[in-house]
Symmetry: C2
Subunit: 301 residues, 2 copies
Amino acid sequence: MSIGDDAALWHCKRGFQTVLTCDWFLEGTHFLKRLHPPASVGWKCLARAVSDVAAMGGRPCCFLLSLALPARSTGAWLRGFLRGLGRAIRTFDCPLVGGDTTRQDRILISIFVIGETPKGEAVLRSGAQPGDRLYASGRLGEAELGWRELQRQRSPSRPTSKALLKHLYPQPRLALAQWLRRNRLASAMMDLSDGLSTDLPRLCEASGVGATIELPLLPLAGPGETDEAVDRAVHGGDDYELLFTVRPSDERRLPKRYGGVPLTRIGLISKGRKILSVTGRGETKPLRSGGWDPFRAGRAG
Amino acid sequence: MSIGDDAALWHCKRGFQTVLTCDWFLEGTHFLKRLHPPASVGWKCLARAVSDVAAMGGRPCCFLLSLALPARSTGAWLRGFLRGLGRAIRTFDCPLVGGDTTRQDRILISIFVIGETPKGEAVLRSGAQPGDRLYASGRLGEAELGWRELQRQRSPSRPTSKALLKHLYPQPRLALAQWLRRNRLASAMMDLSDGLSTDLPRLCEASGVGATIELPLLPLAGPGETDEAVDRAVHGGDDYELLFTVRPSDERRLPKRYGGVPLTRIGLISKGRKILSVTGRGETKPLRSGGWDPFRAGRAG
């Protein structure tokens, strides 16, 4: 594999299949230049795309980067960006093998990650069945909490809380996802990038099922009022946690934590297509999608 | 392979290797919304990336599309774009397998093409040796001529000349490139996207060689003054012709045309690193890079 030719060459190992994913990361839509440190932009653009590979139970292998920059961002900004990107490359063991650069009046990033899974073992969104238990990794709404902190903060260069660190430097759940795949524990899986209330309907749609979320079970993040934390957990984006389903007969094989990351049962897969939430008082309501959909809301984060 | 999961899955055939390439296609940089018909944008964004696969002697297999659109471009513009893209998909036999969409205030396209070549047979930029003959396919500067026509034209929706058609709907030289690879005729190869004077130095750099172009040999396009046509052939971008080198002993196996496309000897690979041009009067000058480099000039086309 080499940079500098018209295209990069990629050899897939025998018995494996290639996983392909692409992601935008755009100034003004996915990050704000005045708030997000360039090292965070470098880290996060790769981490988000790697998270899509993780969500299939895959291992990232290499990536291509399409980068458009204004002339004023080629100095200190670019150095910071490359520092964060370099750290992500080493952490995820995922080298850059090609790309395309051009000039624009704002920073545009498009990332293509190539990964692999043993043939036939990729965990899809479409495998959930009625009766399966719905699980989430980590704490939900934590990155949203960090994003709100960042907006309040004066000097964004020194992240002070776990929530802010998660917003700026999210950790795709690679080891956990591969462990779930190897042990055939997840019947369906995806990563939570746009928020539970936006992503869960996608998993249900792909599987042809409904679901019920029990709000009191949600693994909440940070301090503050419980109602606010529940709202963040349901609608907050950018967590890059795993949302997965487990057959009832497999549930006893699932630990409470894996590598320090809590695994929490948050609901149940059901027949039909309804997606419901149940409150602590036993009230059942349709789960309204309120996560981050760039075609509906223009906010960054 | 399916759309709608976190990532797409790709199986590489045994004995083949995967070719990966990505390309920007941005409003205001690579096309102008007021001049370029949406069908041309749809065709060209895929054709350009497919041309990179062709340049390795590869066959395109599938692609991912990252698309950012303003709300006002989701109606008639998007339909025209998808019509042109659909025609390219059928022509190149290269289906869409995944992507990412978001909203922006201008049209941003990032394309990722996956192709294949028999293992070890990809034609690289780095194989040229002193003494090799330098060849180009087609007519050089033709797309540049078409771009100038487009700028003069009132109603851009009905292309009237071959040059304008080449600018709007370029044809990557897939069949020719694969034939050159199969017959081991090209020692090095790349596609001409930014213009001969910008791309030739890249091939020479990769091969560690120099080159001399004979200007009177250049296959010129269109009417007009010879000096202007030579200038377009040397510096004009967007032709997506093949630039390749041939060992002296292989030259007799190379036909004058392949599939109706002329193959023209335009110069010679030399020792050292100098890249020179020789005029009809025998004057030798360094070839100055004047092709389209988006970091140097902001023009579209």
